[in-house]
Symmetry: C2
Subunit: 273 residues, 2 copies
Amino acid sequence: MKRYAFFISDGTGITAETLGNSLLAQFERLEFERITMPYVDDEEKAHAAVAKMNQAAQDSGQPVILFDTIVNKSIRAIVDSADAFKVDIFATFLAPLEQELGTESSYSVGKSHLATDSHDYQARIDAINFALDNDDGARTRQYAEADIILVGVSRCGKTPTSLYMAMQFGIKAANYPLTEEDMLDLKLPKSLSEHRDKLYGLSIDPDRLALIRSERRANSRYASLKQCYLEVEEVELLYQREQIPYISTTARSIEEIATRILADTGLQRRLKT
Amino acid sequence: MKRYAFFISDGTGITAETLGNSLLAQFERLEFERITMPYVDDEEKAHAAVAKMNQAAQDSGQPVILFDTIVNKSIRAIVDSADAFKVDIFATFLAPLEQELGTESSYSVGKSHLATDSHDYQARIDAINFALDNDDGARTRQYAEADIILVGVSRCGKTPTSLYMAMQFGIKAANYPLTEEDMLDLKLPKSLSEHRDKLYGLSIDPDRLALIRSERRANSRYASLKQCYLEVEEVELLYQREQIPYISTTARSIEEIATRILADTGLQRRLKT
C-alpha cells in the first residue's frame, strides 16, 4: 500500500511541494501518493484537510506524511490534529533564524507574506514576452537586448530552456535554430556573429534527437538517424571552431540545463527572489 | 550592511533557493544579498564556495546565512567550515523521515538523486508545445486535447499562466483572447462553446490593464482607460452570463493564479513530482 504525502499551505503550496518532493526523492524505492492542498486559509478548509488526511491514513493503514507551510496559528492547530507524520518546515527553521537575525519573523507575528513584487513581476512578464517574440529565430533585431542567445539544431531543447530562464530567472533568452546551411557555411550568420559573446550552444544525443523529431515528422529525412547524426556532428564542430560554449540536453531536466548555463556563464538572475 | 544569503547545492539549487527564499520572505524588513551556487559537486568547488562565503562574511561583518542541500558527505564537511549560519535542510528532516518510513535514504548512503524522469519529461515538453501552439487563439482545432482553455481580454495574463501550467504541472492549457465582438455577440464563439466545461476566465483591474497595454501601444484606443473599463465590464458580464468561473490576475503572481485555478477546478497535475 502506497503511503500518502500531503503538501498543505495557506499560499500556493509551492515551497511545501518543492521541499517535500526533494526530501521524498531521497527515498527512491518508495512510491508516494501525492496530494497538494493550497490556500488552506480558514478553519473550514483546515477541517476539510484534516478529514482528507485521516481518510488517507485509514485507507493506507499508516499516518500520512505532511509537509506544511501554514503561517496562521489557529489554522495550524487544526491541521496538526490529523493522523500525520509532520515535517514542519517553518516552525523548525524560523525560530533559529529569528535568533540569528535578531528580529521576529512575520510568521511569529502571524502575518502572511504577499507574494507579488512589482519589479519582479514586470521583469518576469517582459522576459517571457521576449522569449516568445524571439523564439526559433523568428526575429533577430532585438538581440542587442538579449541576455543570452541559445543556438542549436531543431528540436534540441532551445524553446523550453528559453521559456524556463524567463519564467524562473527573468532572463531574456532568445533562441536561434542552426540549420545545415548555417553549419556548412563555415561562418555564423551576421545576426549571431554580432553578438558572439551572448551565444550558448545546446547539443543532444543524435539517437534521442531522431526519436524526438520522429514524433513530429515520422519517416522524414528530417527525423532520420543519418540526418540527426550529421547535424549534431556539424553543430558540435561549429561550436568548437567558433569557441561557443555548449551543453548536452540529453538526460537533463529543463531546470538542470538552465541552471548549468547560468553557472557556466555567470549570468545573473534578474528576479530578486 | 546587507546580510548575505547563500543557496548551495550539488544539484540545480532550486530546492535550496525555494525554501530559503520562503523563509527569508518572513523577514520583511530585512534585505539580503542572495547568491546561488549550484553544482558544487567536488572538493575544489566546495573550497571555492567556502572562500566566497568567508569573503562575504568579512565584507558584511556577519556570518552568511547558508541554505544547502548537498548530499555528498566529504563535500558537506568542507562547506560546513565556512563562517555561516547554517540552515541544514536535508540533515534536519531526513533522519526523522528515515525513521518514520523505516528505510534509509539515498542521502544517508551518499547517493545523489537523478532529476530526470522520462514520463514527466515528455509530458512537460508536450504541454509546453501545446501551450505555444494554442497561444492567443492561434488555433482552436486542438481544443479537444486541452486540459483547460483560459479566456480573457488582451493582455490580462493568459499567456504566462498557460506556459506556467505547462512547465510546472504538465497541464495542457490553451488560451483564447475574447474581443469586443465576442462579448457583444452575446454568445460564445463555437470553438469555445463546444468546450464549455474547459473554460476558465481571467479578469483584471481596468486601470492596471490600461497601464500594461500602454507599454505596448501608448496613446492608442486599445490602451485607453475608457476601452479597458468597457472590455473588463463586458467580459465579466459574459463570464457571469455563461457561468464561466474566473479569477482576477491583479496583484497576483503567476504561481498564485495557476495554483488557484487548479484548486478551484480540481484539475490534476500531470507530472508525478
